[in-house]
Symmetry: C2
Subunit: 329 residues, 2 copies
Amino acid sequence: MEDVAREAGVSGQTVSRVVNARGYVGAATRERVEDAMQRLGYRPNSAARALRSGRFRAIGVIMFSFSSYGNQRTLDAIAVRASQMGYALTLIPVESSARDTVAGAFRRLEEHAVDGIIIVIEAHQLDEAEVEIPDGLPVVLVDSNRGAAHPFVDTDQAQGARLATEHLLDLGHETVWHVAGPAKSYSAERRRESWRVTLESRGLAAPEPLQGDWSAESGYRAGLRLREDDSVTAVFAANDQMAIGVVRAFREAGKDIPSDVSVVGFDGLPDAAQLWPPLTTVQQHPERVGALAVDVLLVELDGGERGQTPLVGTELVVRESTAAPRTAR
Amino acid sequence: MEDVAREAGVSGQTVSRVVNARGYVGAATRERVEDAMQRLGYRPNSAARALRSGRFRAIGVIMFSFSSYGNQRTLDAIAVRASQMGYALTLIPVESSARDTVAGAFRRLEEHAVDGIIIVIEAHQLDEAEVEIPDGLPVVLVDSNRGAAHPFVDTDQAQGARLATEHLLDLGHETVWHVAGPAKSYSAERRRESWRVTLESRGLAAPEPLQGDWSAESGYRAGLRLREDDSVTAVFAANDQMAIGVVRAFREAGKDIPSDVSVVGFDGLPDAAQLWPPLTTVQQHPERVGALAVDVLLVELDGGERGQTPLVGTELVVRESTAAPRTAR
DNA sequence: GCGCCGTGTGTCAACGTCAACATATTCGAT
DNA sequence: ATCGAATATGTTGACGTTGACACACGGCGC
């Protein structure tokens, strides 16, 4: 900066003013300074800036490594929005499962140069890790609603699950079976509860849900059990991957999708349309969730008051994996 | 830090020595200082550290937003390894396609507080963006080999494509058709060339490859054309997603996989095993690529000499989407 | 003609840390 | 007893930036 100042024949302070467009600077002077910056390839030193201002213009994101497709997309959206707003994104990975690693991540985090944090971890797993979120640092939670201590943003899981369940019922199926996500996931829990409530609101008893873990393989295992029961004609899987496994299990047993059994997924994976048959699914919008998370965090950073954040809606995308049951035809 | 020093009855410098475990510190003193740090919840200020040392202990990753599954996994691995090595990860997203955005990302980058950069963008796209990589900053390229200006790490694309092609030929297929990735992708190009060379080394002429764009939808379009030709019995798709689309196209036309047509993918998507039929594919190891990229960058940072980095190998995973052709049975 | 305000620019200090140097103490070897 | 090396701690200044303050100039209203 000193070099630029000398080159332009001004003081360092004036250079600072030009860079930050703050205060009064004469037009001619500004030009000279900008010229000098250009010639010398000057870049402000962010460390010094941060030291002086106490702000880093950086957002930390804590996320499990090897995360789901949806979370990856959310991260992506967070990165894009943060960058648009002039913030850098610092990624703090947590290696799944190992408890002390989780705590360690938060400790590491405190040393990191961030102004605020977005946590993209399902809340039950958070609880399990007995992690205390450092205070003094604004935090936004995604995909969970751990108390009201911090604002959170999320997909409207309940609405999506209702759409899926009602679609199958409206086609004429007598009931809908459910392959749920892992017990410790809030998303899974909310999808399952919404499915149950939707059935009950139509006066139907919900069959015992099968337990999966989000993986296609677990969906396959659930499908192996479902295909034993000939009364099963409609299955709502808590995500697309498990739906893929369910489809495989039925197909292997010679049952056709959708003429014997209808299957609905949840997520809206881009390739779901190209599966065979194309999968009916609940389209999520992780990119909206991510952008919203950044916006909410920035409001927190500016000390804005905390409003209730709306959930992000979903849409049902009807494809060829669902149809009316034989009996209704 | 001053507070800690006062609390422990020592100077700031001694606190610094305790924190960095550098120089001589008496055992009793160290304990007092550590105690004080604990009590006051002291965390060193990374901005001041960076300002003083000129090192940020941070690595920047430049990546297209909405990236492929493989790149996402690579990012993940980079994050984990960087964190293990005590480095923070700053993610700099580039919104696909918009040229000036790409250049902008690099400009932004220069202001960012990173010691080195890992670029996870296919090289042809890099070229297209006419981006100049800022010098003075160590750079490692992933998934590309743009000249020898910077070290690069990558999957051994050629080996993987050879495995896939040979597998189909060894089953008895007369030739192998190819659904290639986008023209501007190095990976796609190398897979295609290796497929061609493998065929030619067996004295076979390579049929005209079909052009896809990695998406399942483009695979489906390619499949629509392939299914018109009854001589097609074996297809090697340049990634799993396109393979999914190819399978769908044949299935829709009443052709069975694998009894009528064998299909091989490339990537090793975790769900490929649960597709119907389970997909034969070339298993990549993006996590190894990511970790390797960090290791190579750290060597660069330490001014180490640049060796040739080995490519990361792949394995063929044979599943049920491939079988001998009817004629050979 | 006087003071005041708006504009344009410079000086200084401080942000938190750590390398370099200075100082003090202990201990073993001569 | 003396010296030097090893150990232990304190003092100072600088990293690059910017907020606070000071200063200088011209124009305006009275």
